[in-house]
Symmetry: C2
Subunit: 444 residues, 2 copies
Amino acid sequence: MYTLKDILYAKSIAVVGASNNPDKMGYTLLKNIADGGFEGPIYPVNLKEDNILGIKCYPDILSIPENIDLVVISVPAVIVKDIIKQAGEKGAKGAIIISGGFKEIGNYDLEMEVLETAKEFGMRIIGPNCQGVNYTANKMCATWPLVKTQGSIGIVSQSGTIGATIELWAEKEEMGVSCFASLGNKSDISETDFIEFFAEDPNTKVVALNIEGIQEGEVFIDTIARTSQKKPIVVLKPGRTEKGIKAVASHTKSIAGNDKIFTAFCKKHGVIRANDITELYDFCKITAMSKKLKDNKMLIMTSSGGAGIIATDTAEEIGIEIAPINDKLKKTLEDILPDQCVLSNPLDLTGDATAERYEKALKAVIDDGSFDFILTIFGDPIPGAFEVINKVKSESDVQIIVSYLGGGDVEEQEVKLMNKNSIPAFPTPERAVKAAKALLQLKI
Amino acid sequence: MYTLKDILYAKSIAVVGASNNPDKMGYTLLKNIADGGFEGPIYPVNLKEDNILGIKCYPDILSIPENIDLVVISVPAVIVKDIIKQAGEKGAKGAIIISGGFKEIGNYDLEMEVLETAKEFGMRIIGPNCQGVNYTANKMCATWPLVKTQGSIGIVSQSGTIGATIELWAEKEEMGVSCFASLGNKSDISETDFIEFFAEDPNTKVVALNIEGIQEGEVFIDTIARTSQKKPIVVLKPGRTEKGIKAVASHTKSIAGNDKIFTAFCKKHGVIRANDITELYDFCKITAMSKKLKDNKMLIMTSSGGAGIIATDTAEEIGIEIAPINDKLKKTLEDILPDQCVLSNPLDLTGDATAERYEKALKAVIDDGSFDFILTIFGDPIPGAFEVINKVKSESDVQIIVSYLGGGDVEEQEVKLMNKNSIPAFPTPERAVKAAKALLQLKI
C-alpha cells in the first residue's frame, strides 16, 4: 500500500477532466497546478482537446507516455472507477477525487467500488467530493484557491471553505501554509492520516484541524494524543449546540458526538479548541510562532490607552493576569520614560511614542524579569516598530505578542514583516489576548 | 457661543504649527486637510517658513489677510492660550487642539486658562490632547489617517486609535464614514455634543461611540435616550472588569462607573453594546445598512456545509433561532434545486452552487414568508453573487445578511460592491450572526 506521503510528494500528475473552459473545475485545477510551479510533468487528460493552457493533452490516462504518480479527477461520478483502474495500471500511487455524486447523495456502492478498485493497485484516495490538496513544499496546488507561500501551518479540513479561508488569510499576511487538505467523503484517507503525516513533516509546525464527526474514534484519539506531544494541534469542531449537531448530521452524515467529552479530551492533551474560524486562524498563527508560556502574567505595553484598556478587559475575562509592576521596575521606567507615560500595567507610552521609546521600555521590562510575556500594542503607524521587536526578541527569551492597529498601509507592511519573522501580530488587542490564552493551553 | 456644527462646517482653516518636516504632526495635519480636498482656504502658520506643501505660510494668525473659521493647533502647550486669543481676534469659531501637555499630565490650570480665553470669543474647543476630527461631508480631514470616503457612520471616540481603526476598516471596505472625532481631554466639547449633532446630521445614519468615563452623566443619559429614538447607537465602553476600571482611571482620570447599571441603561434604550473593536465595527456596519428585525428566526443559506454549521452553533449560543423549514417550502425547494442540496435549515446549496441557484432559493424562501432575515453564505468565489443579492433585496422586504469567505480577490471586490449598496457583508459566518443579533436589539 502506498501512503499519503506518496501523494503529497508526487513527481508527476495527470489531471483527468482538464478543460479549456475557465468555468470548469478541471480548468482551475490544471491552472493552479501549473501556476503553482509544480516541477514534475503535468498531463491534462481530455478526449476532445489537443492541448490545454499550452500543455499537451491526452485522450486517456493509458495514452500518457510515462508512468504517473498522482491522478486528480474531476469527471462525472459514474466513470471515476474506470479512471482509477487506468491510473492504477499506469503505476499511480494515489488519486484526489474532486468529483461529487457518491456517498453524500446516497451512492454508497459507487463509492465503495471506486475504493475497492484503488485497493487492488495499492492506491490511496483523497475524497471523493472534496476540494483537493495543496502541499506547498512540493509546489503542488491540486485545489483552489491558488496559494504558493510556504508556511508552517498544516491544515486538514472537513470543510473546503473553512480550510481555504484559513489558507487565504495566511497568504494575505505572507505567512503561508505547509498544507491545505480538504477531506470530502473520506472514503480512504482521513484526518488521522494527515495528522500522522504532519506529526513527522519537517515543513509543518502546527496542525490546524476542522472536523465534524470522527470515524474510527480510537485511532483518531490515539493519534491526537501522540501528535500533541510533538506539535501544537488547534481544532475547530462545530456541533457544539443541539441545532449544530443536527446540521453536522445533515452535512456529512456524521455524528458530532458529546461535546463535553471532546472538550475534556482536548484539555487533557493540550489540544487547543477554537470556537470559530477567526480563532482557528489566530491560534494556529500564534502557536506556529511562539513557545508555551510558563505562567499567565502578561504586561501590556501600548501607545494607545484605549486599546490597552480593551486588552485588559479581555485578559481579565479569560483568565490572563494583568499583574501590577513592582516598585523597582517603576523606578527604572520613571528614569527612562517621559513624564506623560503612565507607569502601571497597562504601561501607556502615550500617543507620541517612538520605536526608540518602545525599545527602552521593552528592555527594562525584560531585565526586570517579572513577566513571561508582553503584549505590545502599536496604536498608530510607528516607523521602525518591526525592527525594534525583532531586535528585542532576538536578544531575550520573553514572548512578545503584537497588536498593530490604526496604522493603515504602514500597519499592513509591518504586520507582514513581523509574521515573516515569527512575531505574531494581530489586528486588534482582543484577538491578541485570546491568542495568548491559547499559548497557555499548550502542554509542549 | 458657536457650536460644534460651526467647527465641522468650517469654511476656512488655519493650521498653527504646520511644518515642512514629515515627522511632525503639523505636517501630517496640513497635508491631510489639503489632500482630503478641503474646498476653502487653508493657512499654514509657522514663523520660519514661506510656504509648506506649496501653500503660502504666515508667521502668525494675525498676519492672515482674511478671517478664519477654524484653527487647528499643534504647538507646545504653553503657547496655546496665545494662539487661541489671536484666533478669537480673527473671528475663529472653534479650535481643534492636538497638543498635549494639559490636564493629562496634571496641568489643570493651563487647560482652564485656554478654555476661558476661548470662551471670551464664544469659541468652542475640541481637545486638547486629541487626534482631531474628520468630517467627510465638508472634506475636512483635520486628523490622521487621511480618509476621504463619505459614508454614514459617525464615530466619536475617546481613544484616537480605536476610532481611527474603525475608520480605516470602513475605508478599506469602501463604506466610509460621515465623521471621525477623537475627544482627548474634552475640556469643552464632549461626546454629548457629538451625539446631539449626529442625531440631526443628514450624513450620519448610525452613531459609533467609544467612551471610557462619562462627564455630566444626566445630560449624557438624556441625550442618548433621545438620540436612540432617532438613530441606532453602538457603544464600546471598556472598563467592564476590575482591572479594566483601574486602567480607565489611569488613562483618562475618569470613572468607568458601574457596568451593570450601564448595561441595563443600554438595554432599556435599545443602545447596542459592543464588547470589542471588531464588534463596534460590525454592529455599526449592519445598523447603517439594515432595519430593525421583527423576530429572531433566521434562515441560513450556504454553499459551504461547514460554514453553515458554524453559523448554526453561533446563532444557538447567542439566542437566534434556526427554525426548521416547513413542508410546503421544502416541497418547493425540492422542485427547483438539484438532488444534492440539503433541504433544511441551514439550507445547503452545496459546493457547486451558482448565483442562479442562490436566486431561485432566495425567491422561494422569501415567497414562503416564514423568515424575517436570511444569512446568505458564499463559501467560494461565486461570479454574480452581488448582482443576485442586490436584485432580490430590491424586490423584497426580507433582510439579507451576507458572509463571503474563501473567495480571495473575487470576495474582496464583491464585498466592497455589497457594502456600497447597503448589503451588509462579513468575512466569517460567526461575525455575520453576531451582527444580526445586534439588529435584534434595536428599538427603532
